[in-house]
Amino acid sequence: MLNRTQTPAINEIKKAEIIRASEFRLKNNIPVYYINAGTQDLVRIEILFPAGMWQQTAPLVGSAASAMLNEGTSKLSSKLIAEAVDYYGAFLHTEITHDFASVSIHSLNKHLPNVLPVVEEIISNSIFPKDEWSIYVQNKKQSFIVNNKKVSFVSRKKFAELLFGNNHPYGHNVTEADFDKLKREEAFDFYKRNYTSKDTIIIASGRVTDATLKLLEKHFGGMNGSALVKDQQAVKSTAQPGVHYVEKKDALQSSIRMGKMLFTKDHPDYPSMLVVNTIFGGYFGSRLMSNIREDKGYTYGIGSAIVSFSKAGYFTLSTEVAAEVTNNAIKEIYFELDKLQNEKISESELALVRNYMLGTFLRSIDGPFALADRFKGIYFCGLGYEYYERYVEAIRTITAEKIMDLAGRHLKKEEMIELVVGKK
């Protein structure tokens, strides 16, 4: 008779081998980091420029420049660009993050020679046509106005402002007026300065062969220029701990967001803090989820995270709760924080979190695109692959005492920003 109350044997995850990126230099010295993996005959090429939020000269300039790459070159109209890419079933995507801008293409290998010329063209010869510019700004502003009706959107922006300060490149709280101030010439100038070969890298993942590398040489080996990237080092972040409240009279739910400045990924405590965060609010079985969703039923979800950009890192947690239980939810969050700092975690819970995190790490290195993302995760923080060895080591060896100590030192209640958008 099968005994269903008996758990099957738990096998420890012993091996988590990460496939490392290889490096190849184009003749203009742009490094190509490539990962040849996966089962399908396709590839993702990402070209990453120092043209993100950190480098932008005014609010929205970086995202506008990135979007305008699709909108016309001296040879191709926006429609022709779109058709040239769509015809070959490829996906062209431009976006900015806090630290860089990317132009990426997903393509079947058989079509890559046909789509890369378009990518080359938009990077080198974009002209930001005036008509396209005004359509872009207008539509972007409309979608901003819609998003501003969401408590989660308002709270995310406000939180960044409280954390970094409104003048910090990571912290500017965008308003409608920023769209009116946005100038085509400034975005175009930003494009000219920042989308060059200087500090630019290419990451290729999927089935990457010599032929792929040759194509990259052909289309991007001739790029040049030297970026005069704006240096923002002087801007100090100015966190405003304490209680903040943005009232939304008709809100059915309040968005609660809390957090504080922390450090970047190169800090020795960073990997261990990821374990602390996982216990607190980093997975479905976390303390915050177990208490606030699974025990109290206050919310559909609650989660916390530790985030590291190149130049700054922070801790954050967020949830949307029924408006009438906003204060109760905040009380429970502090209760869990207090417990994390003052009560030793049980062996059983710690073992669970260790295995869960190792499993998650395994998932995070599964497949070519995931591997490319792990490379980006270290490259932009100036780290090498040994970071992941330290990370796995931290998961395996962290102790209950160290967890309390780290939570006590790095998640001090008096340093927390506590923001409610909605009703309380």
Binding site: T39, Q40, Y88, Y356, L362
Partner: protein, 414 residues
């Protein structure tokens, strides 16, 4: 491009499908139950989805589902649609047996905990608020479904008609629902990833083989009668911008015409080279956002065109713009080049979707539900066989005024 698989059926009727992929250190387990919101009592809507939440509240021999899975490095989730309820997880290959243990126990019997029911009712009510009520435009589908469907149970959304029906859910309803739908002969089990057929056979027999067969469920849903005249609904809401939704009845995901209809929607709205975007967003500047999509529901579905109007544009002008674009497809054939473009896009999309063992598992499960898992390997050729004439024929069939329900979603003037 082909997902090689093996299939066998246990004596209790559970269909098991296995696809080996040694390039990943993981195994994905996907359990599809042939029950969705369309199978609900009209007075107890939202129940299939609430039930999905309860499936994580402990089973007969295991008090908590998530904890043991996380303890072996696994991760899981689930979704409920109008047609199916699907549960999926990934585990490191060495811990596959834990997945069998967990999934089989909750198929054998739930724990039916009162506390879990009480908490998950609240969680789902907060989900209702978060996604449908406390969002601009969040209640669109709560308004549209009963306009489009008058008889067929697609007339309610998976979240349910209203919060009160969720708060009234009782334990006896939960038990009856489980007994009726959560049995091996109403489920499909798919495994993809780094293991062997032998192992899958052995573990399936061991853990699922002993679960008793349940009742046969013959689905007998009322067919939606043909719509004979245009319908419309106008609402005012606290949103910043007017929006319009035009919904047409179309075929089902299982019909052979589906492939033409899906390409038709791609021609209108897939990517920046699509017609609606170029003509109505870029050229005529009537909309700031505009989309079209073909629903993939298992019974007759919805073809949806939706947009947010640009500032200063009248609703009449916006609607006329959409109708003119649709009429072009009724009156003329798409060019070979345009057709090839959308076919190439579908081909690439299918290829990219096969990178992931979870996608492959879901594709196999849904295909098996449609009659044969191998259908998953013939999707591309069905798209590639579509002709311009078939697309025009579908445009004729679908884009008729009397086949349309329109929602005018207006910004409240302050």
């Amino acid at each position: 491009m082909s997902i090689l698989f093996k299939k066998f059926t246990l004596e209790n009727g559970l269909r098991v499908i296995f696809h080996e992929d040694r390039s990943t250190p993981l195994v994905c387990m996907n359990v599809l139950y042939d029950v969705g919101a369309r199978d609900e009592d009209p007075e107890r809507t939202g129940f299939a989805h609430l039930f999905e939440h309860l499936m994580f509240g402990g089973s007969l021999n295991i008090p908590n589902y998530d904890e043991p899975l996380q303890r072996v490095g696994g991760e899981n989730n689930a979704f409920t649609s109008n047609d199916i309820t699907n549960y999926y997880l990934t585990v490191p290959a060495a811990n596959l047996e834990t997945a069998f243990w967990l999934e089989s126990d909750r198929m054998l019997s739930l724990g039916f905990s009162e506390k879990s029911l009480e908490v998950q009712r609240n969680v789902v009510i907060e989900e209702f608020k978060q996604r449908y009520l406390n969002q601009p435009y969040g209640d669109i589908w709560l308004l549209l479904r009963p306009l489009v469907y008058k008889v067929h149970p697609y007339l309610w959304d998976t979240i349910g008609k209203e919060i009160s029906q969720i708060s009234e859910a009782k334990m006896e309803d939960v038990k009856a629902f489980f007994k009726k739908f959560y049995c091996p002969n109403n489920a499909i089990l798919v495994l993809t990833g780094n293991t062997s057929l032998e192992e899958v056979k052995k573990l399936s027999e061991k853990w699922f083989g002993v679960i008793p067969k349940g009742p046969e469920n013959k689905r007998n849903l009322p067919a939606e009668p043909e719509q004979k005249e245009a319908r419309s609904l106008t609402v005012q809401r606290d949103v910043p911008i007017d929006a319009i939704y035009k919904v047409y009845h179309m075929c089902s995901r299982k019909d052979k015409e589906y492939y033409s209809v899906d390409l038709l929607s791609d021609i209108l709205s897939d990517g920046s080279s699509s017609r609606l975007y170029n003509e109505l967003v870029k050229s005529k500047k009537l909309f700031s956002e505009l989309n079209a999509f073909a629903d993939d529901s298992f019974d007759k579905g919805m073809f949806v065109v939706s947009g947010k109007l640009s500032a200063g544009v009248s609703m009449e002008a916006a609607e006329k713009g959409i109708e003119e674009e649709l009429l072009k497809l009724v009156n003329g054939k798409v060019s070979e080049k345009e057709l090839q473009k959308v076919k190439n896009k579908v081909e690439a999309t299918l290829e990219f979707s096969e990178i992931n063992i979870m996608n492959k598992a879901l594709n196999l499960a849904v295909s098996e539900l449609f009659g044969d898992a191998d259908l998953a390997n013939h999707e591309a050729e069905k798209y590639l066989a579509v002709t311009a004439a078939q697309i025009q024929q579908q445009a004729n069939q679908i884009f008729r005024k009397e086949n349309c329900s329109t929602l005018y979603y207006l910004a409240k003037k302050n």
